[in-house]
């Protein structure tokens, strides 16, 4: 009987390390000018490669050097990574170095990605949520080589990732413990690290980058741009949902709608006597717009997915609220924060681009493959949840379809709230019969239209017209009627039957501002706790340092 060899992965790894030593000499620390030689030595055609980059930090130096490898030596790579956000990511495909991508989020490169898929230069694997992609790193998308970014390394190769730890631990673990290769770009090599975020024996090579890694301030929203319409929706959400359910644990999606809510807590929320009764704990990036609520004593805990440029000093100075290392500097961890966001918060609140007549929502357009990021893991009912809270139990008890589907057994439910403007700028309707996601499915050859949040997961839609408490509906027909009732002057809204709307209001399935005793004329910018970025700096006592593009003074 032929004996099987059990350590082929290890042997392969040893060969790659030997090739690296031949190319750039011995030792973990590799000179920046040798980076291309190193990459050519350790990466083989067709490898699965994880090139770190997420909403926030990017291994941009390694990405650029990877663009310079000889495409005759290194080609056909399959990228498995959180995001495609840099020019260099697209260039890798144009040069044939990369062939296929499995990812989660694209943002600024959504258009270029769609174009690459259309022209056949980019083979699209699947579009994931973060946790889903991280899961696949350990099952069927195991990276052979991981290229990551850190603030600093020491001579042994220990890494300090600090406030922007983000995805690094999960990427390194998936590569390293399946005998893969880990290369880190660092802003500097130092004698002593403030703390060790990734231990040295999980890291094969360290390159000191000639410039710091790129960091995107994705979650910064300028209060000056918040509209009265957003303020009205925020008032309705606070009174009709946060207060109604007494929601203490929350995740906010990115955008001006949730920024408005954050800035209304210390003013409008205070006037309703809600301090201490709602919003005490968040799974959330360090949003600058949350500073006034934190300073006013509303918030006890914030678990961060990533860091936000300019917030480091403020976060470090509020260690009771944020997660801080033994060295005193902030830590973030996307995997753990996503787990917290999925299982441990009672409510997701976010904005979207389009909602269809059945309540499905999407931010996809036909010519942009933007991905999901983490929102669907929070914008859903976590079916595996077993612990109870008052808000979760109340929402579950109100669910109109439980008797049909589950019978008598009680079950809780997460609140999944969509804030939606009936018309966006250029009179683009927020409610449509058919999501653009369907066109994108056809254009990009996807198995499914990329729906961000499914209609049967949404519990509440808030528009300037009112709130639809969709989970209270008994069936799809009733849910459609409740959506029409708050869809305003869109084509869908104009199909609302006034008698049916009246009945839904009587039954508490739809609430208009008058039902909530809110006067729309009072939705004014003066209600915002901070009206400019400069106000946020003042609230922070000078600890928040906004990036230049947000400064106009």
């Amino acid at each position: 009987m032929q004996r099987r060899q059990w350590d082929t992965l290890h042997q392969d790894r040893m060969q790659r390390l030997a090739a690296a030593e031949q190319a750039v000499g011995p030792g973990k620390i590799v000179a920046a000018r040798d980076t291309v030689k190193l990459l050519e030595a350790v990466i083989q055609p067709g490898d699965k490669v994880n090139l770190e980059g997420c909403n926030q930090k990017q291994a941009d130096f390694l990405a650029e050097k990877l663009c310079r490898v000889d495409p005759k030596k290194v080609y056909g790579l399959h990228f498995v990574q959180s995001s495609i956000t840099l020019d260099s990511h697209i260039r890798l495909f144009e040069k044939g170095i990369a062939e296929k991508i499995d990812f989660s989020y694209s943002g600024a490169k959504a258009g270029a990605l769609a174009e690459g898929v259309r022209s056949g230069k980019i083979k699209l694997g699947d579009i994931h949520t973060y946790l889903e992609l991280f899961g696949r790193y350990f099952i069927d998308l195991i990276p052979r080589v991981a290229l990551v970014a850190a603030y600093a390394a020491d001579r042994e190769g220990n890494l300090y990732t600090g406030a922007n730890t983000e995805d690094t631990p999960v990427i390194v673990e998936a590569a390293k413990f399946k005998q893969g290769i880990v290369i880190a770009q660092v802003n500097q090599i130092v004698e002593h690290l403030p703390r060790v975020d990734i231990p040295a024996d999980w890291v094969d090579f360290v390159v000191e980058s000639p410039r710091p890694f790129y960091l995107e301030p994705l979650f910064t929203r300028d209060p000056a741009l918040i509209t009265e319409s957003q303020i009205l929706r925020a008032m309705m959400a606070i009174k009709g949902i946060y207060a109604e359910y007494g929601v203490q644990t929350v995740n906010h999606g990115i955008g001006f709608d949730t920024a408005a809510i954050e800035l209304l807590l210390p003013t409008y929320g205070e006037s309703l006597g809600l301090k201490g009764k709602i919003c005490s704990s968040f799974a959330l990036n360090p949003h600058p717009t949350l500073i006034p609520a934190i300073e006013s004593g509303w918030v006890e805990n914030i678990c961060c997915f990533g860091g936000e440029l300019g917030m480091e000093e403020y976060v470090a100075a509020r260690p009771d609220v944020f997660w801080i290392g033994p060295d005193g500097s902030p830590r973030s961890n996307r995997t753990y924060a996503q787990v917290a966001g999925h299982y441990a918060v009672d409510m997701f609140v976010g904005g979207t681009l389009q909602i269809d007549a059945d309540g499905n929502s999407s931010t996809a357009t036909a010519d942009r493959i933007a991905g999901f990021g983490g929102a669907p893991n929070m914008g859903c009912d976590p079916r595996g949840r077993r612990h109870a809270s008052d808000a979760w139990l109340k929402c579950g008890a109100e669910t109109g379809s439980t008797a049909e589907t589950l019978g008598e057994t009680p079950r809780g439910r997460r609140l999944v709230v969509q804030l939606q403007e009936t018309f966006r700028e250029k009179m683009k309707p927020g409610f449509v019969d058919r999501l653009d996601a369907w066109e994108l499915r056809d254009a990009a050859g996807l198995a499914l239209p990329p729906v961000m949040i499914y209609g049967d997961d949404v519990t509440h839609i808030v528009t300037e017209v009112g709130i639809a408490y969709l989970h209270k509906c008994r069936d799809l027909e009733e849910r459609r009627a409740a959506i029409r009732a708050v869809a305003g002057y869109t084509e869908i809204g104009m199909r609302a039957d006034p008698r049916q709307t009246k009945d839904l209001r009587r039954r508490g399935i739809v609430k208009m501002p008058a039902d909530l005793e809110i006067d729309p004329a009072k939705a004014k910018r003066s209600l915002l706790a901070a009206q400019t970025i400069r106000d946020l700096v003042a609230w922070s006592g000078g600890l928040y340092h906004p990036p230049g593009k947000f400064k106009n003074w």
Partner: protein, 108 residues
């Protein structure tokens, strides 16, 4: 960009005009909408003239304006609107604000 001129007419409440001859509110340059209200005895009728860069939403304007006239109980008015891409919600809000300002209401 070519501007779109629309005109609508509704049955309002006779005598429910504004106290002054006219009243103006909003700016179109940096804001989203400008409104000029003019008192005019015309058997309660409310005539609305809209100048907007947006095309293809005549029916939406009609619905928003009809709703405003019915809800506010105004009449004997000419309303001129210079629109700078205001959404239907903002149009309703600005009209309510303009009318209450013209009637000397509390806008705080």
């Amino acid at each position: 960009m070519a501007l779109n001129h629309l005109e609508f007419s509704y049955d309002g409440v006779a005598g429910a005009s504004i106290p002054a001859d006219w009243s103006h509110s909003g700016v179109v340059g940096s804001g989203d909408m400008e409104v000029l209200l003019t008192r005019k005895a015309q058997g309660g009728k409310v005539v609305v003239k809209v100048c907007t860069p947006v095309c293809g939403f005549d029916q939406v304007w009609d619905k928003v304006l009809a709703h405003f006239v019915a809800e506010s109980g105004c009449g004997d008015l000419v309303i001129e609107i210079n629109d700078n891409n205001a959404t239907p919600f903002i149009v309703s809000l600005r009209l309510q604000q303009a009318l209450s300002e013209a009637r000397g209401g509390d806008l705080q």
